[in-house]
């Protein structure tokens, strides 16, 4: 208890200090952000906020690994503008309020030039207003909820993302379910406490209906729930052809296991929140025959992807999941923007990130649009034999399914 309390006190003190700064006559952005960046010889600090512990710990750990690899590369090239880069990573324990606190800490104490994170939308939403307040650019590697880069109708000036949106992901899964799997009756099971889950479920529901499908049931759960049998029994009673579960891997694995125990053999479908090696560890064989949309697949034969996968394996001994790949891309976009920016002030970096065009990322070409989002392709993976295999690729915008090329090892 004591360290937690001490931390809370420090956080309160920092928050208080931040508030005082806000009352100063100059705008808060100018007050907190260093005008020209670090002194000669001092490293540039890149902040990372992630869930290094907790229910979705692999999200934060994988992202951190991807970011570290990118920063190592940049330092091997001699750093940026004569400064080496230094990663400062904080654990938010999977809690939104904690994410906001450590974002403040990165901006105020560590004088981070750019903050990377979070990957979960609810936590990125908690960070976004802080990034704007302190005038520190924030790039979220994987938060797909549209609201993350928006403040009402307005685009948040300092918040960017290098991934596609749930509007696209929902469309992709709806199209895949309706046109490829030919499902007509689908049930939804969503986490009502997660911005990501609710947003993606709504998108899927609207798109699936527009494509002529019926949504026969819409059940809910809360993060931390263990027992999903009540909802699954209700869903079973509606006899759907498939079930859409936009959740994070821990819950999804438990849900699918319990569904199979109840004799639900229909395909389960979900989004990028499924992607973690833990999914297979917890869910085991129950996961076979299910589908999820994702940002990339390590099986992609493109040289950029294969080089990244090989280097990641050499360093960490595991295949990089989607969070690792997006963390790598987000850090590279940040480094690229730093190199292009006139100086290392928050506003110059912001403009440089906003001007990112066709950056060749592992997860596809990254161009930041007017809404501070990236427009990218999506893949749909099928789980077979305890591993994800490419089932379809969807080009951006049009969302037309492209069957996997014969070169890829998909079966």
């Amino acid at each position: 208890m004591r360290p937690t309390r001490a931390l809370a006190l420090i956080a309160a003190a920092i928050a208080l200090a931040a508030c005082e700064k806000k009352q100063a006559p100059q705008p808060p952005a100018a007050a907190a952000a260093p005008a020209v960046g670090p002194a000669a010889g001092a490293p540039i600090v890149i902040g990372h906020v992630g869930s290094l512990t907790g229910d979705d710990a692999t999200f934060g750990l994988s992202t951190e690994k991807g970011i570290s690899l990118a920063i190592e590369d940049a330092n091997a090239r001699g750093g940026v503008k004569g400064h080496l880069l230094k990663l400062v990573s904080y654990d938010d324990k999977g809690k939104s309020e904690e994410a906001a606190v450590v974002t403040t800490r990165l901006a105020v104490d560590d004088k981070a030039s750019i903050i990377l994170g979070e990957v979960a939308s609810s936590r990125s939403l908690a960070m976004a207003s802080k990034a704007d307040d302190f005038g520190v650019p924030m790039i979220t590697p994987a938060s797909t909820n549209p609201a993350v880069t928006r403040d009402g109708q307005k685009v948040r000036p300092y918040v960017f993302r290098v991934c596609f949106l749930d509007t696209f992901q929902g469309l992709v899964m709806a199209k895949f379910a309706r046109e490829t799997l030919k499902l007509s009756r689908v049930a939804i099971l969503r986490d009502v406490g997660s911005a990501y889950s609710v947003g993606l479920a709504d998108e899927f529901l609207a798109r699936f209906r527009a494509l002529g499908g019926t949504v026969v049931d819409d059940q809910s759960f809360k993060a931390g729930d263990q027992d999903f049998k009540a909802q699954l029994t209700a869903i079973r009673g509606k006899k759907p052809d498939g079930v859409f579960v936009p959740g994070y891997y821990t819950q999804v694995a438990l849900i699918v296991r319990q569904a199979r125990e109840l004799g639900l053999r229909q395909p389960f479908m979900g989004g990028d929140g499924w992607d973690s090696e833990k999914l297979f560890e917890i869910g085991g064989r129950a996961l076979d025959g299910n589908y999820y949309s994702n940002h990339y697949t390590p099986e992609d034969p493109k040289p950029a992807v294969q080089t990244f996968v090989r280097r990641f394996k050499e360093k960490y001994g595991s295949v990089p999941d989607t969070m690792a790949a997006l963390g790598f891309d987000a850090a590279n976009v940040a480094v690229d923007a730093m190199a292009r920016a006139g100086d290392l002030s928050g506003s110059a970096l912001r403009d440089a990130i906003a001007a990112t065009k066709d950056y060749p990322g592992v997860t596809g070409g990254i161009s930041i649009d007017a809404g501070h989002d990236a427009v990218k392709a999506a893949v749909v993976l099928k789980i077979e034999g305890g591993a994800p295999r490419l089932a379809a690729t969807f080009a951006p915008e049009a969302a037309v399914a492209v069957p996997p090329s014969p070169a890829s090892p998909a079966k």
Partner: protein
């Protein structure tokens, strides 16, 4: 109809866990008039004890019945010892103080276990202990076949086994309480500890063994629960602990059959509420049922004003 019966099966298996944890609350309340708020965390510790024993025996890789029994008994023994230590170190020194002091100490012990288990693993230990805040996955202890199919209702084997084990444990407890010298001593302490002491009953020892028994039952509940839902973490005893407390009060705190009935009623209520309305209503309605029962029957479903308490 199939759906209704399936909910019945799900609710019974959930209620079984609550009932087993509720026994620990009820027994301790019976002898000490203390709500042992650390009991949910003893349940959590039981799951981790099972996890470590299973790791030591290699029960996860090659599950066999003797190993499963060894894991369950091992966890029960470890948890019983933990219950003994908690009583000896935290509650006994405060025995003569006001009851509120003991209650606050119970909350302190609860936090100690919850946050102690979230610390970084100690270097040099053969196992990862404390386990840290990220979830851990409990290995399957038995390789069970496909669920039983009956009238379209699927009944997983683990639920059948869990229910059987729970009923057996509760019958055994009832026998201990009413058919043994120790049980008689327990009931005497529950009735009037001071007088029982004057009659030569070793009050402290009876209380210590009550904690050991209650904690061992919590460990059994934890093993059954973790076999059904393999995700365990240092905070996962919080909610089941609270629910089991509600179950104990619902059934009539101090009564062993009451804990069983209370647990099952609570499990079934939750299941039917979540199945037929929305899962967000689950806890709200379960607690509303508690309030309703307490308004109509303040002593709980099976509690009586003047019976011998356990």
């Amino acid at each position: 109809m199939t759906e209704f019966l399936q909910h019945l099966v799900n609710g019974l298996s959930l209620g079984t866990i609550y009932a087993l944890i509720a026994l620990g609350y009820t027994m301790v309340y019976g002898v000490l008039k203390l709500i042992n708020f650390a009991h949910g965390d003893v349940y959590m510790a039981g799951a981790f004890a099972g996890y470590y024993v299973a790791g030591a025996l290699g029960a996860g890789e090659r599950p066999t019945l003797p190993k499963a029994l060894a894991v369950t008994l091992g966890a029960m023994v470890i948890c019983g010892a933990l219950g003994f230590v908690i009583e000896r170190a935290a509650y006994r020194p405060l025995r003569e103080r006001p009851r509120l002091t003991a209650l606050i100490t119970a909350i302190g012990v609860s936090f100690l276990l919850e946050y102690g288990f979230q610390l970084e693993p100690v270097r040099g230990l053969p196992v990862r202990f404390p386990p840290g805040p990220s979830p851990t996955y409990f290995p399957p202890l038995l390789s069970l076949g496909e669920p039983i199919e009956l009238l379209g209702v699927s009944i997983p084997w683990i639920d059948v086994i869990g229910f059987g084990v729970a009923v057996a444990l509760m019958v055994a407890l009832q026998l201990v309480v009413f058919r043994t010298r120790f049980g008689t001593a327990m009931r005497a302490v529950s009735f009037d500890a001071r007088t029982a002491g004057l009659m030569g009953i070793p009050v402290d020892r009876v209380i210590a063994w009550t904690f050991v028994l209650g904690s061992a039952l919590a460990a059994a509940a934890a093993i059954i629960s973790a076999s059904r839902l393999p995700r365990i973490d240092p905070l996962f005893g919080l909610m089941p602990g609270l629910k089991a407390f509600v179950a104990a009060v619902l059934g009539g705190i101090g009564s062993v059959p009451g804990a069983m009935v209370g647990g099952l009623v609570l499990g079934l209520t939750e299941e039917y509420v979540a199945g037929y309305t929305a899962s967000s209503w689950r806890d709200a309605i379960a607690f509303a049922v508690l309030i309703l029962v307490l308004l109509l029957r303040p002593q709980g479903l099976l509690g009586r004003a003047h019976v011998e308490k356990v």
